[in-house]
């Protein structure tokens, strides 16, 4: 299929930015490599025990929301039953 000339320019631009992004990513990675041994993930600090605090907090919040929803659901079911009995 004939590619419109402007498509090719777009292609070149896309390829250029793709190349640029990869170069930047690689540079970033290399810079990090020179400073630390690896990508600065949270492995050391968090995985020691603090990550579990984060999980506990999030699960507590989720639990609170779920309990509220369950309560609401039961209330509505009750009201529906009453309504059907009328």
């Amino acid at each position: 299929m004939d590619r419109h000339p402007s498509d090719q320019i777009g292609d070149i631009k896309r390829k250029k930015s793709y190349l640029m992004k990869w170069t930047l990513a690689l540079l970033g990675l290399l810079m990090h490599l020179s400073a630390f041994a690896e990508v600065n993930m949270a492995d050391k600090m968090r995985s020691e025990g603090r990550i579990y605090v984060v999980i506990a907090v999030m699960l507590t919040i989720l639990g609170g929301i779920i309990m509220y929803l369950v309560r609401l659901d039961k209330k509505i079911s009750q009201a529906e039953k009453q309504n059907n009995q009328k």
Binding site: K13, R14, S17, Y18, K21, A25, G28, L29, H32, E38, V39, N40, M41, A42, R46, I51, V54, I55, M58, L59, L62, I66, L69, V70, L72, D73, K74, I76, S77, A79, E80, N83, K86
Partner: protein, 231 residues
Amino acid sequence: MHQVWWKAAAILLLTYTITAGLLGPVPQLPLLQETIRNLYFHVCMWFGMMILFTVSVVQAIRYLRNMDRRHDLASRHFAGVGMLYGILGYATGAIWAAYTWADPNVPFVESFSTIARDPKLIGAAVSLLVYFAYLVLRDSIPDVDKRARISAVYNIFAYAILFPAIWILPRVLESLHPGQDGNPALDVKNDISASMRMVFYPAVVGWTLLGVWIATLRIRLEILKEKNLTS
């Protein structure tokens, strides 16, 4: 309780999402580091929004075919919860960007304008505003049947604008939004790693089921209120 099985599934899936999401292995990317785990929350919000809006438009079409007001109610409330998810998705995206892609050397106000020009953000804002207008439209028409008919038609157009605004234009334009130009593990269609996929797909289902739960509660409540008014 009404229809327990999928609600229990939602609770289990969300618990799994939080636990495995924070503990599971993720690819180690230079700029994002651990924040890539936000995929299970931020991206799930948008996926959930799309699914809820799809349900909403299907109900709108069903209303137009049957004139059954329950479909109209369902359409409205699924759109409402979808909007909630959209706003949450926006907020989580802003938080994520503030810690990763925003340039820490530039004061916040300036980097904000760089980020806010991103096509996907503008597209998402436009789509959410269109749905806000849907709610305003509903409230502005006093007659119940007219309201249902007109808003159902509007819902279809509002749904249609989601696709060019959020999905098509951001991909076509030179978008800064991560995930559109081959950023691995964020391009969920192709490059997301297998370890992330294991948490991501259940997370989508879990968050969507939660949204469905909230929407059905609101629908049931409104049906109850109407019955009490008329009885």
